[in-house]
């Protein structure tokens, strides 16, 4: 019951769930990036677990590394965009940004 893979699997599912929920209910752009980060943590934990279960943990690790790099770049660009949006429009509220007309 309390094998490590079972625990990791539960954590993966819960992290994905928390991440998706956070993305869906957040109105702040930076908070949405936080939700994305949580969901991606679940994804690369799942990749490592899949590698372990398939007896190819090194392949799992190398793919997880690619995901970490891509996720970091996404976070960097998203945060830079959020900073620019805040400077230009004065808010990070998704709802306020949606109602803007230019």
């Amino acid at each position: 019951m309390f094998y490590l893979p079972n625990i990791v699997l539960v954590v993966v599912l819960a992290l994905l769930g928390i991440g998706i929920y956070c993305i869906l209910i957040s109105r702040n752009l930076i908070k949405i990036v936080v939700g994305l980060q949580i969901a991606v943590k679940g994804a690369f934990l799942a990749l490592v677990l899949a590698g372990k279960l398939a007896s190819q943990i090194d392949v799992g690790q190398s793919i997880a590394l690619t995901v970490i790099v891509a996720d970091t770049i996404v976070a960097v660009v998203a945060l830079a965009l959020a900073v620019q949006i805040r400077r230009k429009f004065g808010t990070l509220d998704v709802h306020a940004l949606m109602s803007l007309r230019r």
Partner: protein
């Protein structure tokens, strides 16, 4: 038992990162989640990625968050979300159900049971996989890093340029 505590810690920190209204505190909970995830990856046997996650996920990304929040300001939004909460819950439960439905048959197989009972850590071939089999991917990651750094410089540096031009 330790794994159970790590797992519970990850979920608690992720929940707090989601629930917290102050962005800076939320970023710190996210950093703690990253640190615990890297510990769990080490327990699984992925030591190399655990180190990368600890340095990049808990270190670099946290610094970026603090930097961005410092510039953009901690705008706490407690108003109602755009997506109705019942709909968000339904989306989460549906996607989790779909994942469990896809994963469970794979875990039932005899081969997986044998692997689950195996306790030894496999010999490290990470270096060979990364540098020989996935050389192009690794080079692409380096390119991605530079592209990200240039994107940030371009995005954050733009207002300063225009200010200089005005002067």
């Amino acid at each position: 038992m330790v794994d159970l505590f790590i797992g519970a810690g990850i979920l608690f920190c992720a929940y707090k990162a989601m629930q917290e209204n102050r962005l800076l505190v939320s970023a710190l909970w996210l950093a703690l989640t990253s640190a615990l995830v890297s510990w769990m990856m080490y327990r699984v046997g992925a030591a190399e990625v655990a180190v990368v996650e600890l340095s990049v996920g808990a270190g670099l990304v946290t610094v970026l968050f603090v930097f961005a929040i410092n510039i953009a300001g901690d705008e706490s939004l407690t108003r109602q979300s755009l997506v109705p909460r019942p709909l968000a819950w339904f989306a989460v439960v549906f996607s989790m159900g779909l994942l469990v439905w896809m994963i469970m048959p794979a875990l039932q197989s005899e081969r997986m049971r044998a692997v689950l009972e195996q306790t030894g850590v496999l010999a490290g071939l990470f270096r060979s996989v990364l540098w020989n089999d996935r050389r192009v991917d690794t080079l692409m990651q380096v390119v991605l890093f530079f592209a990200g750094a240039l994107a940030v410089l371009g995005l954050i540096g733009e207002p300063n340029k225009s200010r200089e031009e005005r002067e």
